[in-house]
């Protein structure tokens, strides 16, 4: 295992210590239970946004704590959702009296832990709403399964809802907005290599030199399908097509196109991918009016990418463009 770390058990703690040391102007870190929160929290009268999940997806979620995005993030162990007490403490720490929105990625563990936390927080008189993000079209949805995973759309929801909260929209409005983003965003990802969970020490799955995994999640789970390596044009086609046809996105739609690195794929390749995606959408008459290109929701050092499309309207566009100042996402501030 080749990583720039010390003891595998200490990666998460040391990484958030590093965040605290790097961004004291933006955030503070609490240990035991672990959570990252806005330096100026609680912001009175503002709906507070709390998210969290397993670590290994950096900058998500801790790197999205700050003005215009999250009020707090709860980092679990690598790929392991955090615990209810982290979420309760974080929720209390950032509650500014206008209620707290939990943004939860749809994984059994995340949902169950956030459920427990919400129950307990409500028990303590805090107004908590939870929205579950499930945008991964690689997973067939069904009432009888765990349903779709929450992936790329989570980043967009945190940015857009964060902006709405800064506008002092109500908890109900921000929660509805979050559901709207989830309904209008779809994603699919692929891997060129596996990743290595530090405490495991070996690759989660083995891939041949000429193989790739299509339809992976963000936890090193194998995808739905193993295929022979293909040119970027074909890969983009096989990721974007199911995404487009799911909602569906149609001719004339304006979208935010999010090309995400799984961690090990460098920027030069992301632009080759974006170039293919841009051509593909142009052919279908779908207009990219906003884009985000980079490593924002990663799976440790995994090489690969994911494509997320979000259908935009004036409201979503305005909120996307609104100022944001976090370690991971910053503009107009």
């Amino acid at each position: 295992m080749k990583k720039l770390i010390n003891r595998p058990e200490d990666v998460v703690t040391e990484a958030i210590q590093g965040m605290a040391a790097a961004h004291p102007d933006l955030l503070k870190v609490n240990f035991g239970p672990n959570y990252v929160y806005r330096a100026d929290a609680p912001v009175q009268g503002k709906v507070a946004l709390v998210s969290g999940g397993g670590s290994g997806h950096e900058p998500m979620h801790g790197g999205f704590v700050g003005m215009g995005m999250l009020d707090a993030a709860c980092p679990g162990e690598v790929f392991t959702s955090p615990t209810p007490d982290q979420m309760i403490e974080a929720t209390k720490a950032v509650d500014g009296g206008a209620g707290v929105l939990h943004i939860v990625k749809n994984y059994t563990g995340d949902v169950m832990n956030f459920d427990m936390a919400a129950e307990l927080a409500r028990g303590e008189g805090i107004d908590v709403e939870a929205v579950v993000i499930d945008d991964d079209v690689a997973v067939q949805d069904s009432l009888y399964t765990a349903g779709r995973r929450g992936v790329g759309t989570t980043v967009l929801a945190e940015k857009i809802c964060g902006a709405a909260a800064e506008e002092k929209q109500s908890l109900q409005q921000v929660a509805d907005l979050c559901r709207k983003v989830n309904e209008n965003g779809r994603s699919m990802g692929m891997a060129l290599t596996s990743c290595i969970v530090p405490t495991a020490g070996t690759p989660t799955f083995e891939l041949g030199a000429d193989e790739m995994e299509i339809g992976i999640g963000i936890h090193g789970e194998p995808g739905r399908e193993r295929r022979k390596l293909a040119p970027a044009s074909e890969i983009v086609e096989s990721l974007a097509t199911p995404v487009i046809e799911d909602i569906p996105f149609e001719e004339g739609d304006e979208v935010l196109a999010f090309v995400n690195s799984m961690g090990g794929t460098p920027t030069i390749e992301l632009y080759v991918v974006f170039n293919e995606l841009h051509k593909l959408l142009e052919d279908r008459g779908i207009k990219i009016t906003r884009n985000l290109i980079g490593p924002y929701i990663t799976s440790l050092e995994m090489a690969g990418c994911s494509i997320t499309l979000l259908k935009l309207d004036d409201d979503l566009t305005r909120l996307w463009d609104a100022p944001v100042h976090t370690p991971g996402l910053r503009w107009a501030a």
């Binding site: 162990e77 790929f79 615990t83 007490d85 399964t145 495991a200 799955f205």
Partner: protein, 220 residues
């Protein structure tokens, strides 16, 4: 726990404590194994997660006073909930919490008390996780264990035998997860590809039931 307080009669607080500690060390021994199973159809952390939680639970128990088995089991559950995370945390946390509720105030468990505790535990896990038998989860080890235990007792088997049959049922249930296509948990994302692999949670649940039988068997 020698012959004297044999389980022919019942299980003492000390024996329950012994079982919890035995489960903790079995999980520690099988940590890499459980994580490897989770690599195949999950995210390579089940062993690490449960091991972290049980270590914390055992540490907590050392500070515990009195002989209330319910309190002991609730402490284990609370500790798992607050230290494990993932799916394993709430599920195993709920399992022990419900056992604690079912055994509240007791300093000894008669065979039927244990059967009731196990039933409550399974119930809690299903309430939490909404898994049905055949979904390829820990439920597939726990339900057979619960049923084998109660029917054995109903047939008048000794507690020893009932525990052994319960453990055997859990083992069979665990093995039966191999061909299944997962419907719940991370493994369900693999669809058909989840078939052919043993479920990590069913495996840790089998260890849980097995260690009870071993820790409480009369003959040692």
């Amino acid at each position: 726990m020698g012959r004297l307080d044999s389980v022919g009669v019942s299980v003492s607080y000390a024996q329950v404590l012994g079982w919890v500690k035995a489960f903790a060390s079995t999980v520690a021994e099988n940590r890499e194994y459980l994580t490897r199973l989770d690599s195949a159809i999950g995210d390579a952390d089940h062993g690490t997660n449960i091991d972290r939680g049980m270590k914390a639970a055992v540490a907590k128990l050392d500070g515990l006073e009195g002989d209330d088995i319910g309190a002991l089991l609730k402490t284990v559950g609370m500790t798992l909930v607050s230290t494990v995370g993932g799916a394993g945390g709430p599920l195993y946390g709920t399992l022990f919490l419900q056992m604690g509720v079912a055994t509240a105030g007791k300093s000894e468990l008669a065979p039927d008390d244990w059967a009731a505790a196990l039933a409550a535990a399974v119930n809690g896990v299903q309430m939490r996780g909404k898994a049905e038998p055949g979904d390829k989860t820990m439920i597939d080890a726990l339900i057979p264990a619960r049923d084998a235990l109660s029917s054995a007792l109903a047939e008048g088997a000794s507690f020893d035998d009932a525990l052994v049959r319960s453990a055997q049922a859990a083992e069979e249930g665990m093995q039966a997860t191999i061909p299944l296509v997962a419907k719940k948990g991370r493994a369900s994302y693999l669809g058909e590809r989840s078939a052919g692999h043993q479920d990590p949670g069913a495996t840790s649940s089998h260890l849980l039931i097995k260690t009870a039988a071993e820790a409480w068997s009369g003959d040692d």
